[in-house]
């Protein structure tokens, strides 16, 4: 009585399994926090890219006669000390910060990931030495690092990128290191050693793809801090240089006016910085949530 092969009595209900990346993406697309943050960030990115097309005035054109005029129908956000239109400047002012902060974060991520992989993979002496150095580095305030870098490299966007990138790298390295320490205990690493793989291969081909999620989360969080840091450095005069309409720089050159009641020269730039930082932080929260669901 051998089996008569007809149709199977069991019809599988195919539950398509999605890849982890697709899961994360769909969870991001359902996260209100992330989408709100993303909308804010994209708004400023659009301003940076196409701002001059819809800014009502040339952000750099002075107009001494109309200097320091308060917000009006003509100048929605008023004008500054030399009569430049604040609204136009705020719109275009995101350009520098949105190049410098992401590049700084990228530098921090690359350097931090490499250091984190090295310390987490080799442990022992390498870890002890590098970690101590990084801790010492983290103890120095960013401002002092900035001063030293300016002395060495002069003020420029590149300096800002290097200063912030190097300041944040140890923080990212710490996150990556702890993720790598956990991965290293997994047997696939022993299996790689049993193939006599190089340390480089094991770190970058075997371990790195598995620690991408914490790196992404940390990177988005750092981006928020980087924006804040760039603005702060510009405000202190270490960063982006005039005549850029950069927000931090504008606040720095106008904040003396607040006493005279010319609040509009500073307020809108400050709000712009705040909104961008909040936008990035909301997006970062969303990313964190998506990876930790």
């Amino acid at each position: 009585m051998s089996a008569v092969q007809t149709t199977s009595p069991v019809r599988q209900d195919d539950t398509r399994r999605r890849s982890p990346a697709a899961e994360v993406l769909s969870s991001l697309m359902r996260s209100g926090t992330f989408l709100t943050g993303l909308a804010i960030v994209l708004f400023w990115v659009a301003c940076a890219l196409f701002g001059e097309h819809f800014a009502p005035y040339d952000p750099l054109a002075d107009d001494i006669i109309n200097a320091l005029s308060p917000p009006s129908a003509e100048h929605w956000f008023g004008t500054d000390q030399i009569g430049r239109d604040v609204f136009s400047r705020v719109i275009v002012g995101s350009r520098d910060i949105l190049t410098v902060a992401p590049l700084a974060t990228l530098l921090a991520t690359i350097a931090g990931t490499a250091l984190g992989l090295l310390t987490g993979y080799f442990r022992g002496i390498v870890d002890d030495v590098v970690s101590r150095i990084l801790e010492a580095f983290m103890a120095i305030p960013v401002v002092i690092v900035a001063l030293l870098a300016i002395v060495a490299l002069g003020t420029s966007k590149t300096t800002v990128i290097i200063v912030i990138g190097l300041s944040f790298a140890p923080i990212i390295a710490r996150t990556v290191r702890s993720a790598v320490l956990a991965e290293r205990e997994l047997d696939y690493v022993a299996a790689a050693q049993l193939r006599h793989e190089s340390a480089f291969h094991t770190m970058f081909v075997e371990i790195l793809p598995n620690v991408i999620p914490p790196i992404l989360v940390e990177t988005t969080v750092r981006l928020g801090y980087a924006i804040f840091a760039v603005a702060t450095l510009s405000f202190m005069g270490f960063g982006i240089q005039p005549p850029s309409p950069d927000w931090g720089l504008s606040i720095s050159s106008n904040y003396g006016m607040i006493g005279g009641g010319f609040w509009w020269t500073v307020l809108f730039d400050a709000l712009a910085i705040a909104s961008l930082v909040i936008g990035v932080n909301l997006a970062a929260d969303g990313v964190h949530g998506a990876f930790n669901d």
Partner: protein, 694 residues
């Protein structure tokens, strides 16, 4: 062909009227579904079962068949996407589905308790045991010193010898067996009338498992609780339960008194499950294990005929169109049911895997591996911890060395020493094919590295989850076999086929494969470079019996084809016996017994081996004299004086055992035992104590 058996109903009716009074648990036509991707997918299908007062009911089946879902449904703890779509549940006569939140909470607090496979689930890692225990009593209104006293009493009850100090500790400071005992104590704290145990011993060592099972059996008598015992280990269920139900695709396919079902199964699925186990000392050269082809239907599958038809060699056209009812096969041995049209022929199920084996090549005289005087000392809080002490042995080509011993006995450390993953202490030697191996992996030659590979216990950890199977195996072939391009592709095909995977499996990532398929990939990887020796560290302990049988067959086939030697570590002695030619029994890093598999298993053997063997739960419940191993393995930081086993040895002869470490002496040619009792005396003592593994 066969009519549903309705005749033998008198006895059943009697049984029914008797137990009608108040069943501990009654499931009636229970259907449960999980909502996945927007659709409800059936997991349990019209499941009916009854557990009487004080009865222990076992539920068995492959993982994914819905056992845990039953447990979660009974206490209404289904995950958010789970829902009861039909049927009724009554606990102690109360309809659980009609209870409001408060009544449900009370029922959970007062009359049911659940113990999970992973005691970590029940214990909060950041709170001391004592606090977690007293909290339970405080919920019941007992506070202060009274709660502490009760907690201590409860821990005493689960045979924890020093409850006061255990109360001070955090969960991670306790061993797995100890944690599970605490979890059981917590489950018993409210004196439940129904205790649900979901795979309570699956993660534990054979000896710890035996202890926990003994504990549960004893508690059963003290407490008169009814028990729902869920396990994929048939032997465990056979030792623990009065009745057993076999679950398949969320349906009951067979049910009856435990011994009757296991000795005279009437459903092909039960027959097949039982055949997957190496039993009665079966060995690889006596035949392959039977397997169950195919897979369990996925959740939400639409089942029109018999759910097992795709995997059943007895299936006919009728099976494919007509859902078999639960035929009543009750007889003088008790009430039993089978959901098979051809239940009378179930035991005639043809084998899925032919039993015949290729004759094994005669092991050559020259050992492939020779280990002499190897030690490994770790530092533990500044104290030396001797994880492996003075181990010497050798292994010939095509031979399997089984390593057994409780966890903490040094099996994995020894395996890692051989592989070079941890360097041994200075002094000992490891020789591969006559050439000394450097202690560290970096210093070994490429040829030496590829000659010794490993199959890890947990494929999820062993396979890189970011890489495709093609990448994983391709890389292994490149590095270990030195292949590339066309040659690599050809060999990859062969390799994949030799572990019975197909091209289809190459493109996917490990997470898209089942546990058994993942383990095949891990085996393929180990064999990529034509190894001389493969270490298998508990390669089947995470797998279902059906998958385990297939993997064991595969290992045996590869061995006879490639003449490779295995070092096989497992806590399942039946499995070790099936595959091993030679056994080394380790205790606190020392070899206590070393010899040919048959001699070590049939005895006379070392008292520790004797205890290990008698701890194995057996399918046929003939009571053999059981030797208890009390307590846990002592700390290797501070091993007992003299014979390290003397603190737990049931055959200890006197002060000499405490003062003098016995040598590992050759009792018979090739069979060595480390014990002061002479071999002839061991033979006399152990005579009549017939111990069969599994």
């Amino acid at each position: 062909m066969t009519e549903p058996a309705q005749a033998h109903s008198t006895k059943t009716k009697n049984a029914k009227t008797q137990s009608k009074a108040k069943n501990a648990l009654e499931l009636k036509d229970l259907s449960v579904a999980y909502r996945v991707a927007g659709r409800n997918r059936a997991v349990l299908r019209n499941l009916s079962l009854t557990i009487g007062q004080g009865e222990a009911y076992g539920l068995v089946g492959e993982s994914g068949c819905g056992k845990s879902t039953v447990a979660l449904t009974v206490v209404r703890y289904l995950p958010r996407n789970g829902s009861i779509t039909d049927g009724a549940i009554s606990l102690d006569g109360k309809d659980i589905m009609k209870l409001d939140a408060e009544a449900l909470r009370r029922t959970r607090a007062e009359s049911v308790s659940m113990v999970y496979q992973d005691p970590g689930k029940a214990l909060n890692p950041s709170i001391r045991i004592g606090r977690q225990m007293t909290e339970i009593f405080e919920l019941g209104g007992i506070t202060g010193q009274a709660a502490t006293d009760q907690a201590i009493a409860m821990l005493n009850r689960v045979r924890i010898s020093d409850p006061a100090s255990v109360m001070q500790r955090y969960p991670h400071q306790l061993s797995g067996g100890m944690q599970q005992r605490v979890a059981i104590a917590m489950a018993l704290a409210n004196d439940p009338s129904m205790l649900i145990l979901d795979e309570p011993t699956t993660g534990l060592d054979a000896t710890v498992e035996a202890e926990v099972l003994d504990l549960i059996a004893q508690l059963r008598q003290e407490l008169s609780a009814s028990i729902l015992f869920i396990s994929h280990n048939l032997a465990v269920v056979s030792n623990m339960c009065d009745r057993v139900g076999v679950l398949y695709a969320g349906m009951l396919v067979e049910e009856g008194p435990t011994e009757v079902v296991f000795n005279d199964p009437r459903h092909p699925y039960t027959v097949a499950l039982l055949r997957c186990l190496p039993r009665g000392g079966q060995r690889k050269d006596q035949g392959r294990l039977d397997t169950i082809p195919g897979f369990l239907p996925g959740i939400g599958a639409t089942i029109s005929g018999c759910a097992f038809a795709d995997r059943c060699a007895l299936s006919t056209e009728r099976c494919r169109t007509e859902l078999p009812p639960l035929y009543d096969l009750s007889d003088e041995r008790g009430k039993r049911l089978s959901r098979c049209h051809y239940h009378d022929k179930a035991q005639a199920l043809p084998r899925a895997t032919p039993s015949d084996v290729a004759p094994a090549p005669k092991p050559a005289a020259q050992p492939v591996l020779r280990v002499a005087g190897v030690n490994k000392t770790y530092a533990s809080h500044g104290h030396p911890l001797r994880a492996v002490k003075d181990v010497s042995l050798d292994l010939r080509p095509g031979e399997t060395l089984g390593l057994v011993g409780e966890s903490g006995s040094g099996k994995t450390t020894f395996a890692r020493l051989l592989l070079g993953l941890v360097p041994p202490d200075d002094g000992g030697t490891i020789e591969l094919e006559g050439k000394a191996l450097a202690p560290k992996l970096e210093n070994r030659g490429d040829d030496q590295v590829k000659a010794m590979q490993i199959v890890f216990q947990n494929p999820d950890s062993a396979l890189n989850r970011s890489h495709s199977i093609r990448h994983i195996l391709g890389r292994a072939l490149k590095r270990l076999a030195g292949l590339s391009g066309k040659a690599l592709e050809t060999r990859l095909d062969d390799l994949v086929r030799s572990v019975r995977l197909t091209d289809r499996h190459l493109a996917v990532k490990p997470r898209q494969l089942s546990g058994g398929l993942k383990q095949r990939v891990a085996i393929a990887r180990a064999f990529a470079g034509d190894p001389r020796i493969v270490v298998c560290d508990e390669p089947t302990s995470a797998l279902d019996v059906s998958v385990q049988a297939a993997i064991l067959n595969l290992l045996a086939d590869l061995q006879s084809k490639e003449d490779v030697s295995y070092i096989f570590i497992s806590h399942d002695l039946g499995v070790v016996r099936y595959l091993s030619d030679k056994i080394a029994v380790l205790y606190l890093g020392r070899i206590m017994e070393l010899g040919p598999s048959e001699q070590v298993f049939s005895g006379p053997h070392h008292p520790y081996t004797e205890a290990l063997l008698s701890a194995v739960p057996k399918l046929d419940q003939t009571e053999t004299a059981r030797i208890r191993l009390d307590g846990e393995i002592p700390s290797a930081v501070n091993p007992p004086s003299g014979c390290v086993f003397h603190t737990r040895c049931p055959r200890k002869i006197g002060p000499i055992c405490e003062q003098q470490e016995p040598p590992l002496a050759e009792a018979q040619p090739g069979h060595s035992i480390r014990c002061h009792i002479p071999y002839s005396e061991l033979a006399r003592l152990q005579k009549g104590v017939v111990i069969e593994a599994a």
